[in-house]
């Protein structure tokens, strides 16, 4: 018998644990906290009830296929919350899961499934990965089912994980329920966590750390914050995920942790770090202010076998700690005899975490799991870890490296870890790995250093020379931006490094094309956008360039050349040679901050559009409707397939925008076939008339963004070979630019479909959600500075623009629309173009200047505020993305005494400047300017001047001749919208106006006078503008209808209910409570205007949701908007109910509940607290 004190042995504390299966324990937890969130991924959440219901569905489907105790079932699913339900479902069926991760090398996946004897694979990727594998039944995620008891026993296997050794084929480790349950209790005790745990769900299901990520929270009643593949692959997104999900507990490898900033993640209270050696420097960064635990353990001991806290003052190599509860550790020599304390040897682990062994590998199991001669527990085994360790003076285990990382270089025994430790100490080296590879003169060492500009060979030799023996000095050094990380384990990918070292080729020192001369690169991009290669003196505008082309060119120059240029450079340089000069002199552009693969996320403009859509739910002013007449044989089936491919590529077309508590969010539907109804008009008396009516009706379709697709497609059949394809889309997922993208993609997919091929389209470089995330970050970064610019820029501007009209303004804005258009006479067209060219600007700026002068003559003022549209497509990656990238920005036009040429210059500068402050969207500007809300008009901008002069794109489908069909605009969000257009090579102006304000005759006259005025001004640009064509506009345009410049009286609220003893009615009290909560104010006055005391539209949506919930009544958002004070709203609610007494009773009850809950202090005198 050996004396236990004289050998290297350490014991963990004893700790009892329940002898039950994982499935039983999680089901019991679900009974206790059914409504608690069990799994979350951004907006997707599963409560414990949901989780069990989904899991029970999986279990029922599996049982139906003969799956039971100890059956091995493959799990193949994407990293969505349902994956956790799938895993639990397998366990509930009594079976044991085998992770088969989608997207990996198929051959390896199938080998694992075969090795594991898997005949059923379940999960949302099962069919895709295993649908065609003989002998394997692939089962997509079944629906929920009632819960049935789990037939497994605690000693049954829960999962098999396949681990790669340094050599040989992967081996499957059999882990039991008992292993896992015992481990979870151990790690909970060790890290001191409870039901409040929100774990970092980062580990791949095939990596043992996933056991911690999933089962620690699920056994405690906490929640798993599950990262999808993209969020876990990018440090910036990972950090954002952790912060957004308030992760407070989690395991991570040092390689990944080193890429995060502790200061950004203060809420992550317990950090378990391990899987590979933790550098002392990392502990120094992360340990202060939180629990930082080192964690060590092979899969064969479940997850962690040794762990301990690290402080900021450790030195390398840091201790990995002491055995987990119920476990023991020994340090032994090659003969499995214990070494003396402090001596180096192999680590052996014993305890209830030991796996059963390796699946179907008895010899290997017997070799690695050996009899335990020291614990005195009969029949126990110890696992040989293959890791070299020693005990430090405090009895903590120190990890030194793998037994098999000892190599011989020129006869000398070298520990690679020692070389790494020394090189890692060189200032300027962030990460280091050393591998031994065959070289020309025998085995040689190759060192990999990060970052790419790590110290050069001379500095490295000067530093390492005195610290390492000659044999330990690396023969070669490779510098990389970052060391490769295994996607499965998050650990350093050593096989990849060895492959890199063996390849023995110099790394390419610069990306291909980086030495392309600037002039050639600019010419390439220019030709791509404008269709023809430029000569040095080619003029950008003359070559067909406009503001859109300039924006795209600038985005491409930034993306391809990394130069900071803006549209002004294009317009100022004008010629190709001038532009090249400017680009060459431009400063390097900053990183664009774009991340990709984001889950559906609403952009700030989408949120605003959602809100205004709620205000005007019955009409459809935010629709975009397009139609094409197609001559030739239309293949409707191919069209449907092509539309599906378009929706697959542009996932925003599959979004739904539901809301909870007044906060909208996006969810994405899976791609499905797109229904293409065919309306046959061939038999009718007046098919063209019917078509026009149906197009108008289709354009006015009211989309329900929460529940249905945001677009619809209809085909009208006019003859055997003549159809009209009509598409209506909600603006929330579309814009003018998107139209060309849609047509291009539809044409490509249709061509493939009619040729009998799969109409699949390539994936986008970035999605709309990527824009939303990019944009939110941009707005956050620039918002305050941009807002300051806007408030300064707009100081003193009149915030209301009332054009002479024919009827009083309705008390509540209506959204009806009517259209009119004018084409400039040829001479005017020419004069406008010439003037634009002389002033170095666009036609749009000239027309804006003329419109500004017209406004001055209509209102008598010389300072007006219009709106303009800016397409926020500032990165080349957004070029091909369908979606809503539009911002409405204020445009200030000051006239007053200037010549028309000056006015044009001013307008050109203004149009440029308003595009350069995108961080503060219109709503923030409205708030900052303190513009009072008014239900009768759109805030701040009542007249929109749309300068995005798109050439209308054409749809050209294979075998069909197509031409656009005009579709009436479905509504008018503004009093007047002016579009500058180019039709048949001639400039024109189109107007959408609200006929509730203006008669068509007035608008026609206004357009005619505008055309005449712009002609006169452009012909005489050197004269003060006010002196030109003073007879314009004519009185029919200038003089308002009698009594029209008023606002129609709003309907009066009915009798106000008697107030209670505290001066408030129950309804008022209820509303006041909600306001206080939403606005986070202690007091609100009953006559305070919501928008004057910090309310904004999204807050109003929140009030709306709460008020609807509290009263159980259908209240429109518009009601709230029309009655912006507590008193007015309460009066409206009390008066408007069909059965006032019932409504009052409901309100009283709700008010009582609200009082009980908040118990606010009461004061008399009409102030609600």
């Amino acid at each position: 018998m050996t004396d236990i004190l004289s050998i290297s042995a350490v014991q963990g504390e004893p700790l009892p644990w329940p002898d039950a299966t994982l499935a039983e324990l999680i089901a019991a937890q679900a009974t206790r906290t059914p409504d608690a969130v069990a799994v979350r991924q951004w907006d997707a959440r599963l409560t414990y009830r949901d989780l069990l219901a989904r899991a029970a569905g999986v279990a029922a489907a599996l049982r139906g296929r003969g799956v039971g105790r100890q059956t091995r079932v493959g799990v193949c699913g994407h990293r969505r919350p349902e994956l956790v339900a799938t895993v639990l479902g397998v366990l509930l069926a009594g079976a044991c899961y085998v992770p088969l991760e989608p997207g990996g090398p198929r051959r390896r996946l199938r080998e694992i499934a075969e090795d594991a004897g898997v005949t059923v694979v379940v999960g949302d990727a099962a069919t895709a990965e295993f649908g065609d594998v003989p002998g394997v039944e692939a089962l997509d995620l079944p629906g929920p089912a009632p819960l049935a008891p789990c037939p497994a026993l605690p000693g049954d296997p829960a999962y098999v994980l396949f681990t790669s050794g340094s050599t040989g084929r992967p081996k499957g480790v059999l882990t039991t329920h008992r292993n896992v349950v015992e481990f979870v209790h151990g790690v909970v005790a060790l890290s001191g966590t409870d039901a409040g745990v929100r774990s970092l769900g980062i580990a791949s299901l095939g990596f043992d750390a996933a056991t911690m990520d999933l089962f620690v929270p699920l056994l405690l009643g906490g929640s798993v914050q599950l990262l999808d593949a993209d969020d876990r692959a990018d440090p910036v997104r990972l950090a954002r995920f952790i912060a957004a999900h308030e992760v407070n507990w989690g395991f991570i490898t040092p390689t990944v942790l080193s890429m995060l900033d502790p200061a950004q993640l203060p809420g992550w209270r317990v950090v378990l770090c391990g899987g590979e050696a933790v550098p002392a420097e990392l502990a120094a960064r992360w340990a202060p202010g939180r629990t930082f635990l080192n964690g060590y353990g092979p899969t064969e001991t479940t997850v962690l076998a040794v762990s301990g806290p690290l402080t900021a003052t450790e030195s390398d190599p840091v201790p990995i700690g002491v055995p987990l509860p119920n476990h023991r550790a020994y340090v032994v020599d090659a003969d499995l005899s214990p070494v003396a304390p402090g001596m180096t040897g192999e680590l052996l682990i014993g305890g209830p975490g030991l796996a059963d062994g390796y699946l179907n590998r008895p010899g290997l199991t017997a070799e690695r799991f050996v009899p335990d001669p020291w614990s005195g527990r009969p029949g126990e085994r110890l696992y040989r870890t293959g890791d070299r360790v020693r005990l430090d003076a405090d009895g903590r285990i120190v990890y030194l490296g793998r037994v098999d990382r000892q190599v011989k270089i020129r006869g000398q025994r070298i520990e690679l870890g020692e070389v790494e430790a020394v090189l890692g100490g060189l200032p300027g080296v962030d990460a280091v790995a050393v591998e031994a590879v065959p070289g020309p003169a025998g085995t040689e060492l190759v060192a990999f250093l990060a970052p790419a500009d790590a110290p050069d060979d001379a500095r490295l030799r000067a530093y390492a020379g005195p610290r390492l023996t000659t044999a330990m000095l690396p023969a070669r050094v490779v510098r990389l931006a970052a060391l490769p990380v295994s996607a499965t384990t998050g650990k350093l990918d050593r096989p990849a490094l060895r492959a890199l070292a063996a390849a023995d080729r110099p790394l390419p020192d610069a990306p291909a094309g980086a030495d392309e001369p600037v002039d050639r690169a600019v010419a390439r991009l220019w030709a791509r956008l404008l269709g023809a290669a430029p000569e040095p003196d080619t003029d950008f505008l003359a070559a067909g360039g406009n503001s859109i082309a300039a924006m795209r060119l600038v985005a491409a120059l930034r993306a391809d050349l990394g130069r900071h240029v803006d549209t002004r450079d294009v317009f100022t340089a004008r010629t190709f040679a001038g532009l090249v000069e400017r680009v060459a002199a431009a400063a390097p552009a900053d990183g664009d901050g774009l991340t990709t693969g984001n889950p559906p996320t609403l952009s700030p403009p989408q949120r605003r559009l959602w809100f205004v859509d709620q205000l005007a739910p019955s009409s459809a002013p935010y629709n975009i409707a397009v139609a094409h007449r197609l001559h030739g044989p239309l293949d409707v089936t191919a069209l449907g397939a092509a539309l599906r491919a378009v929706a697959e590529r542009h996932d925003v077309l599959r979004w739904r925008i539901p809301q909870t508590a007044g906060v909208p969010y996006a969810v994405r539907e899976e791609p499905t076939d797109v229904a293409v109804p065919v309306v046959d008009l061939t038999g009718g008396a007046d098919p063209e008339g019917e078509l026009a009516a149906m197009l108008a009706a289709g354009a006015g379709h009211a989309f329900d963004l929460a529940t249905g697709p945001p677009w619809q497609v209809t085909v009208y059949r006019l003859a055997e070979a003549e159809h009209v394809l009509a598409i209506t889309l909600h603006h929330a997922v579309f814009d003018g630019w998107s139209e060309a993208v849609l047509y291009d993609d539809l044409a490509t997919a249709y061509a493939r479909a009619v040729a009998g091929r799969t109409p699949r389209l390539p994936a986008l470089a970035a999605t709309y959600a990527d824009y939303a995330v990019w944009r939110a970050e941009r707005d956050r970064r620039r918002g305050d500075a941009d807002l300051a610019w806007w408030t300064a820029h707009l100081t003193g501007v009149p915030t209301v623009l009332d054009l002479p009209r024919d009827r009083p303004r309705p008390a509540v804005q209506t959204y009806t629309g009517a259209e009119a258009a004018v084409r400039l006479p040829e001479a005017t067209d020419l004069a406008v173009r010439e003037l634009a060219e002389r002033r170095g600007t666009t036609v749009a700026a000239v027309l804006l200047a003329a419109f500004g002068e017209l406004l001055a003559r209509l209102t008598g003022g010389d300072d007006h505020l219009l709106g303009a549209i800016v397409a926020d497509r500032r990165l080349a990656a957004f070029d091909d993305v369908v979606g809503f990238f539009i911002d409405t920005v204020p445009v200030r036009v000051r006239t007053g005494g200037a010549t028309f040429a000056d006015l044009v210059d001013r307008c050109a500068a203004e149009l440029h400047e308003v595009t350069t402050h995108p961080g503060a969207p219109l709503e923030r500007i409205v708030e900052a300017l303190g513009v009072g809300r008014d239900t009768s008009r759109a805030p701040l901008v009542q007249v929109l001047f749309n300068v995005l002069n798109f050439v209308p794109p054409r749809l050209s489908l294979t075998g069909l001749a197509g031409e656009p069909v005009p579709v009436p605009k479905p509504g008018s969000p503004f009093d007047i919208t002016v579009y500058v257009v180019e039709r048949a090579g001639c400039v024109g102006v189109e107007v959408v106006h609200n006929p509730d304000l203006f008669d068509a005759e007035r608008i026609d006259a206004l357009l005619a006078d505008l055309a005449a005025l712009v002609g006169a001004l452009a012909a005489d640009p050197g004269r003060p503008a006010r002196d030109v064509a003073v007879e314009l506009p004519r009185p029919t345009v200038r003089v308002a209808g009698l009594g029209a410049m008023t606002v129609a009286a709003a309907e009066q609220p009915r009798a106000v209910l008697p107030a209670g003893p505290d001066g408030l009615t129950d309804t008022e009290d209820l509303i006041a409570g909600i306001w206080r909560e939403v606005l986070e104010r202690d007091r609100v006055g009953v006559t305070d205007n919501f928008f004057d005391i910090g309310g904004h539209s999204l807050a109003l949506a929140e009030v709306h949701a709460r008020l609807t919930a509290a009263t159980g009544r259908s209240i429109t958002m518009l009601d709230l908007f029309r009655h912006p004070t507590i008193r007015a709203l309460a009066a409206s609610l009390d008066g408007a109910a069909d059965r006032p007494e019932l409504a009052r009773a409901a309100l009283r009850a709700a008010a009582r509940r609200s009082r009980t809950r908040r118990n606010p202090p009461r004061r008399p005198g009409g102030t609600a607290h």
Binding site: L153, G155, G363
Partner: protein
């Protein structure tokens, strides 16, 4: 140098392993009737340990 000799051993859960023939057998482990080099013992185990479930699990009925 003569190769070390090992025994094939088995515990009450009928889990197999190997043990140096020179050393005292730990409590709860029994000789399984095979001795040889390390490789021979492991190869033998590959042929005889056909059901790797621990005995208690194999025999348990849920």
């Amino acid at each position: 140098m003569a190769e070390s000799r090992f025994l094939v051993v088995r515990n009450d859960e009928e889990q197999y392993s190997i043990w140096s023939a020179d050393r005292e057998l730990p409590a709860g482990w029994h000789e399984a009737g095979f001795a040889g080099t390390r490789e021979e013992c492991l190869a033998h185990i590959d042929t005889v340990w056909t059901d790797m479930r621990p005995r208690s699990v194999r025999e348990a009925v849920s």
